[in-house]
């Protein structure tokens, strides 16, 4: 067989370039949007994913880490009684008002009171032990590199949270928050920062299990005991999922993302199909001649579809290369971007879907390949 589709694509690549660019940019846009969304909303569960706790205990109905309420501190002994539990520690969340040494105005911060000991579970994956150690000093706090400008501080400087003086002893990275700024401190400092005298217990208790695979079973087993007042349990994975879902869907951000994705698809499909139709129209007289010679419209359609496939594949390749470069750039600038396999697959599916839709549209234009029109 003469490979008409591929030979035409190679020889007349200039005619197909606009379609490839359209597909590629639509794919790139979608990819970066998805990576940003995953990065930003993934950061809402960094408290869970950055820690090595397997089971979380908190107030019933809590929808995301930031909206927890205190629970009875005695729950800790109840959790420790379970033979599967290896370690339990409290985690205190305090909403604070930050006043920096420079003129920055009030900034709302999320204070995380954690156990600064080397075995501490909270943020064990996000903090180096040496950094964590420094929190043992009274009134010591760690802030994220990405918010230094926003907070108007640097290492060694002091500021106040809820009117209480604190000192920045370290700088972390990758602990961005949504709607505020994360500040890490020790449990005891966090208690002092909490202005509400009715808060007696921790916001959460986090537990490490001897066998992390049992998280779901242990969480289920610890639930439902009312002797210590209201509390409930989640496996870390479930709680992270609940938290991300809350931000994605209950805040309307997810709907916005889906809406934008739809727009990108629509615009991409329109532009791609128009450019592909133009490219196919360029060969219309030749197609009509083949049809006059008896080559069926079905065979001609296959040629157009094959071209659409290659346009999609090459567009994808371009988008992939450019996407990786841009993601690396984003990482170096502390822009939260995350890409996982399902997201990448979704982008591939989108791009090939775009190419297919455009190919079908271009195929329809083959109806104009009326061989009788050659005889005029």
């Amino acid at each position: 067989m003469v490979a008409l589709a591929r030979k035409t694509l190679i020889y007349e690549w200039r005619r197909f370039l606009p379609a490839m660019l359209a597909v590629g940019f639509a794919g790139l846009l979608q990819l970066l949007q998805l990576a940003l969304v995953l990065g930003i909303f993934g950061s809402t569960s960094v408290y869970i994913t950055g820690s090595s706790a397997d089971v979380w205990v908190g107030y019933p109905g809590t929808q995301n880490v930031g909206s927890g309420r205190t629970i009875n501190p005695d729950v800790e002994s109840r959790v420790l009684m379970d033979p599967a539990v290896q370690r339990v520690e409290p985690y205190i969340w305090v909403d604070g008002d930050w006043r920096g040494p420079h003129e920055t105005g009030g900034i709302s911060v999320f204070v995380s009171g954690i156990d600064p000991s080397p075995e501490g579970l909270m943020f064990s994956k996000a903090l180096l032990p040496s950094l964590r150690e420094r929190l043992a000093e009274p009134d010591a706090v760690i802030v994220d590199r990405s918010v230094l400008d926003q907070l108007g501080v640097n290492i060694g400087e002091t500021a106040t949270i809820n009117g209480h003086q604190v000192t920045v002893v370290g700088i972390s990275s990758g602990l961005r928050a949504l709607g505020g700024v994360n500040v890490l401190t020790s449990l005891s400092t966090a208690r002092e920062l909490d202005g509400d005298p009715t808060d007696v217990g921790p916001t959460y208790l986090v537990a490490k299990l001897r066998d992390p695979k049992q998280a779901d079973a242990v969480a289920a087993r610890l639930r439902g005991d009312t002797a210590f007042g209201p509390y409930t349990t989640w496996s870390a994975r479930d709680f992270a999922r609940i938290s991300v879902r809350y931000w994605m869907f209950d805040t309307g951000a997810g709907a916005g993302v889906l809406f934008l994705a739809g727009i990108v698809f629509l615009v991409g499909a329109v532009i791609t199909s128009q450019t592909l139709i133009a490219a196919v129209n360029g060969s219309m007289r030749e197609y009509a001649t083949l049809n006059a010679l008896g080559v069926g419209v079905a065979a001609l359609r296959r040629v157009v579809l094959e071209q659409a496939f290659w346009v999609g594949a090459l567009g994808l390749l371009g988008a992939g290369v450019l996407g990786i470069v841009l993601m690396l750039l984003a990482h170096s600038q502390d822009v939260p971007v995350v890409l996982n396999v399902p997201a990448a697959l979704a982008c591939i599916a989108l791009v090939m879907g775009l190419a297919a839709v455009s190919g079908l549209a271009a195929m329809r234009s083959l109806r104009r390949a009326d061989p009788a029109s050659l005889l005029r």
């Binding site: 007349e12 010679l293 008896g294 061989p371 050659l374 005889l375």
Partner: protein, 249 residues
């Protein structure tokens, strides 16, 4: 001149026959009746020429006889099949098996070499790869394009392109070959060569060649010349072309 030929015809069935066909085009309010109650027989193995003023319906007639266009009324018989009764698929199959076309524009794919242009339609005829290539080579040799068969259209002259287009039609080994103004985009020498090839095809392969042309040089080579005007045949002449085989035997 018309007598001796018409007397010997009725024994062999015609390659093409139009019986009382009519064709009109309607574009907006304009109604153009191109053909009305038009009948014609085209004999097998001859080079038949249709000439006439612009807009008289020559191309329309060619499109109808070759199964590219439907008639409004009447019947068209091609190689014994009634084209009006074939659906789109069957018409495509009929054209694939029995017809070749040469157009005024050469309509070659810019990306393909001369050899591939000729091979491409053969791929769709169910021929084996080797058979398709052998046929492609043979027909390119026949039009004298074998030495240049690796070249793309952009590297060929107009006459060479038209010879490739003829080879593309010829390689299918069709019984019917239709040509619409095949020489009008070419200079005198190239036009002459195309006419010679068409004439040779009719006589060497027994192909029925129906050609529309204004070109007076074609008139000399044609076995039969039909002069058309306003959708009617004005005159029907049989000529003795200089290289007519039947004359010598």
């Amino acid at each position: 001149m018309t007598h001796p030929a018409t007397a010997s015809q009725p024994t062999t069935p015609p390659a093409l026959q139009a019986i009382g066909i009519s064709k009109a085009f309607v574009s907006g309010k304009l109604h153009t009746q191109v053909l009305e109650n038009f009948s014609l027989r085209i004999e097998a193995g001859e080079l038949t020429l249709i000439s006439g003023p612009s807009g008289c319906g020559k191309s329309t007639l060619l499109a109808i006889l070759s199964g590219l266009q439907k008639v409004d009324g009447g019947r068209v018989l091609a190689l014994g099949s009634e084209l009006g009764q074939l659906d789109l698929r069957a018409l495509e199959r009929f054209r694939l098996q029995h017809t070749g076309f040469v157009f005024q524009g050469f309509n070659l794919f810019p990306a393909l070499s001369a050899f591939e242009q000729v091979e491409l339609p053969l791929n769709h005829m169910g021929l084996s790869r080797d058979e398709a290539r052998a046929r492609a080579r043979r027909s390119l040799e026949e039009v004298g394009m074998a030495p240049r068969m690796k070249l793309r259209p952009s590297e060929l002259s107009g006459g060479e392109k038209q010879r490739v287009a003829i080879a593309r039609a010829l390689a299918k080994e069709p019984e019917l070959l239709f040509a619409d103004e095949p020489t009008s985009a070419l200079d005198a020498a190239n036009g002459q060569m195309i006419i010679d090839i068409l004439h040779r095809i009719a006589h060497a392969h027994g192909t029925t060649v129906l050609c529309v042309s204004h070109d007076p040089r074609v008139v000399v080579h044609a076995d039969r010349v039909l002069a058309m005007e306003d959708g009617r045949i004005l005159s029907d002449r049989r000529t003795h072309a200089p290289t007519n085989d039947s004359k010598g035997t």
